[in-house]
């Protein structure tokens, strides 16, 4: 490999991107022989590790009522109750540990549940396909990242799934910051 590794290569390598074997071999051969690239790679890898830690530390996206109750005993939890196709106004405090949108929705007969947390315009922040849920539950507790919930003027939670083999829209609700 001639010259130094470019930043994009270092990021792809550090992020665990699937590269072809020859490219990995060339990158590693260079890294072990080049102080400058080794230092830059170490910096990129350190941030990647921190990002993985941050995402792994996020709470699961859905919580059962029992998990939510247990969580409220040990953490500051802000719960926002909302109907399945309703818009509510609420100020989510950036100082709580977890913000939970508690959606009144009947999951009777639902065989599969997909969850999407998105901006008001529908652009997704986080999606979970095939979420684990309690069959027959009457509420779904969706954990929303506190920073997403508190720093956006509004966010939406969309629940879709399959009932009786047929795709269904189960909820599309919005939590908006109260207008000043």
């Amino acid at each position: 490999m001639s010259g130094h590794l470019d930043e994009q290569q270092l990021t792809d390598y550090a992020a665990g991107e699937r590269l072809d074997a020859a490219e990995v071999e060339a990158i590693e051969g260079h890294l072990f022989g080049c102080d400058s690239c080794a230092a830059r790679a170490a910096e990129a890898a350190s941030l990647v590790t921190r990002l993985r830690d941050v995402f792994r530390a996020l709470p699961p996206m859905l919580m059962s009522d029992a998990e939510l109750e247990a969580m409220t005993r040990t953490h500051q939890v802000q719960v926002c109750n909302v109907g399945a196709f309703e818009q509510v106004f609420a100020t989510v405090s950036p100082h709580v540990d977890i913000a939970v949108t508690r959606i009144a929705v009947d999951l009777t007969g639902v065989e599969r549940l997909d969850v999407k947390l998105c901006a008001a315009d529908g652009a997704p922040f986080i999606e979970v396909s095939g979420a684990t849920f309690e069959p027959g539950a009457k509420f779904v507790n969706v954990v929303c990242d506190v920073h997403i919930a508190s720093q956006n003027t509004a966010f939406r939670v969309q629940l879709s799934g399959v009932r009786g083999g047929v795709p269904v829209q189960l909820a599309d609700c919005t939590v908006a910051q109260p207008r000043a």
Partner: protein, 159 residues
Amino acid sequence: MALLQEDELCRALAPRIRVFAQRRWFDAAAVEDFVQESLLAVLQAVREGRVPGGDVQAFALMTCRGRMLDVARTRARREKLLEKLPAAKVIEPGSSNEVLVKLLPKLERRQQRVLIETFLDGRQSAEIGERMGMSEANVRVLRHRAISTLRGWLKGGEA
């Protein structure tokens, strides 16, 4: 080899071995174990004059590659046992990772999504591209820009 030289060798090799391991394993303790054990193996070979051509860096890379498969097999078994246990990690208030959490929403939305899909869901850029309706190369560019932006903010003390 004098202790001082060994110390310098460790300082030079450890970051390289760490990067090598961090690409493959997400567990910080596993990475550090790999770094320590690989360094020991290299030092031992240096002491015994077993480094071909005296090229310690090339030998270190060869050692890492050789050990990687064994370690991966052991870890795969261990992770299978541990996967049913709940994650116990938390983000400590005031920690450097809490700063990072606050910076993530400031990224452009598509960049946020690529980071989430990469580091939370463990998807490769080709799959992310399919889900987001863009090319694999575009996903890599978005991820690179996101990481570069975060690095810049962290260096500038932004939170």
